[in-house]
Amino acid sequence: MSGLSPIEPVLLARRGKPDSAMIQTYLADGGYASWKKVLGGAKSGEWTPAKVTDLVKASGLRGRGGAGFPCGMKWTFVPPKEKRGDKPVYLLCNADESEPGTFKDRLLMETDPHQVLEGMMLASFALDVKHAYLYIRGEMVHAAEVLNKAVAETYAKGFLGVDVLGSGLDLDITIHRGAGAYICGEETALIESLEGKRGHPRIKPPFPAVSGVWGCPTVVNNVETLCCVKHILDRGADWFKSIGRNEKNTGPKLYCVSGHVEKPGVYEAPLGVPWETLLALAGGVKGGRRLKAVIPGGASAAMLTAKEVENLPMDFDGVAAAKSMLGSAAIIVMDETTDIPKAVTNIAKFFAHESCGQCTPCREGTPWMHKMLKRIVSGEGKKTDLDLLLQIAGQMGNGMTICVFADAAIAPVLSGIPKFREEFEAYVAKSSHPDFALAAPEDLTNKVAERAAAGIH
């Protein structure tokens, strides 16, 4: 059986069931079986933290938060007891979900919160965590309520607290609300924010696994990653590995499809499904129009042309090979009517607004890029603007800043302008500064038409 054959929903199996957020229905569907199994075997040594970690490693699970880092390997970076002394280890579930185009974690938390909690519990067992926090973005008021209710139900059942189910182990989970700041999804900013500070990313090293929240070893994992952990414990590493395109891209994956499609929504498919399958799941391009461009991994990912996404395996390595990234699997579809310069300007606005302000290239560069783009799309651009934009953007990334936010901010510009240069040039050509106009507008219109006819975009 191919790892890409359609699968029964795993992460979304309980979506749409009545009262799916309640513990009774979760238990009735076999929920918390793995938690009971692991705790039941803790005293006898049948289940050890290392055994859970090894399973997760063997499954090939890569983090679903954006970077695709191997989950089990990340866990092994936490120093062993002998080295960390009496410092506690913390697990932070990253539910900040703010990458434009991403809405999968919200769905998991709102419809099946116990799945998330069980994943957190199992990861806590593997990491010797006594207190785990789930950091949820401030805007998700409803999801936070659902989670808090679920946590209360879990304590009432004795699945959390002191000496959980007689295992001798203690575990607490706390839901912590953010207050509106995209950058708090970056793991070290999240840590700062949890400590009660402004969400300023930290310089690494030290990495959180060594020194994270309150100076203690810390693991940050995405909501969907932790849900996968639960299913790996339920059904085994081999089962998980049997799904997906290859050894490096395994398991079921949630794709958030939005923009110009008939049926925007979250779709579950094997990691690595071809682009066409995904587009078909989402009902195809809106109104049967032609596809122009796709952003495959949220606003931070480089834009791909319709040509570039053809037959593209939608997984970490597949999208990386096309010089973009799967990121949070936020797939933003743009049809032929899309004004790309305006779309790029919109994304630039987002980054200008969300820079945390610590690093000069990012703090100054992101609003500057937005201003330049605004100038261009409002018909005030100069002919030198496009190259200037590319040049400045080219100086903002690649390790010039504390975190990779700046690299994310330049990706739409560095991909959008070269790939759709005619559209930008058409704006500049129509500029109200004739001195600077690039070419006669008619010429450009022709060029755009020619390229469109040739199927270039």
């Binding site: 979900e97 703010s98 990458e99 434009p100 185009g101 991403t102 809405f103 974690d105 919200r106 973005r137 401030g138 805007e139 998700m140 008021v141 409803h142 607490d172 706390t174 912590h176 609300r177 953010g178 207050a179 509106g180 700041a181 995209y182 950058i183 924010s193 949890l194 400590e195 009660g196 500070k197 402004r198 969400g199 309150w214 958030c256 499809v257 939005s258 923009g259 110009h260 925007p264 929504g265 979250v266 952003i295 606003a299 936020a330 933003i332 743009m334 899309t338 305006k342 779309a343 919109n346 994304i347 987002f350 607004h353 969300e354 820079s355 945390c356 302000g357 703090r363």
Partner: protein
């Protein structure tokens, strides 16, 4: 930086109610109700440091008073053994703490990319126009509506997405504004 400032900085500077650390005064001493005090006690038990309870405590303050005034900043600082300047620094970093009173209905339009592609910009502009040419962040004279622009609300499949206070509203295109505004009493 990260902050759709509900009150432009220039206006704050000219405002006689602005205190040393830049926050507006509400003109009276504040303290939490009994119930909120109990909530705070429960909160503090969840963290190894008092400072970690700052964001949740500010949420409590906003629940109690609707916005974060100079007095609220001073009060929260005292509760958590922090300096008012530090607390204000945190308040201003996050967009969701209101730094001035807002209308009964705080209408938050997402204009990020997926909503943009589905007409959010037009709906947002039209909404402000219908409420009397409101500037971003401005409140109607009757105190009923404040309209602001926010970034992606993680409801991109229901674009354009709008939040009113704590409630999610879906597919608020320009042609649905009548029904939408009519539903907000």
């Amino acid at each position: 930086m990260s902050g759709a400032q509900k009150l432009p900085v220039a206006e704050q500077a000219e405002n006689p109610r602005v205190g040393e650390h830049g926050a507006l005064s509400c003109g009276r001493a504040l303290s939490f109700s009994r119930q909120t005090h109990d909530d705070l006690e429960r909160l503090l038990a969840r963290y190894p440091t008092k400072q970690a309870a700052l964001l949740p405590t500010l949420w409590l303050a906003q629940r109690e008073w609707g916005w974060i005034s100079r007095e609220a900043v001073d009060y929260v600082a005292t509760l958590l053994d922090l300096s008012p300047a530090f607390v204000w620094g945190v308040v201003t970093f996050y967009t969701m703490y209101n730094r001035a009173p807002v209308g009964t209905h705080l209408i938050q339009f997402c204009t990020s990319i997926s909503c943009h592609l589905n007409g959010a910009g037009e709906a947002y502009a039209e909404c402000r126009k219908r409420l009397g040419d409101l500037k971003p962040g401005e409140t109607t004279p009757d105190g009923k509506f404040t309209v602001v622009e926010v970034e992606c609300l993680a409801q991109c499949d229901k674009a354009p997405a709008v939040m009113v206070n704590d409630d999610d509203h879906f597919v608020i295109t320009k042609d649905k504004l009548d029904a939408f505004l009519g539903s907000l009493k």
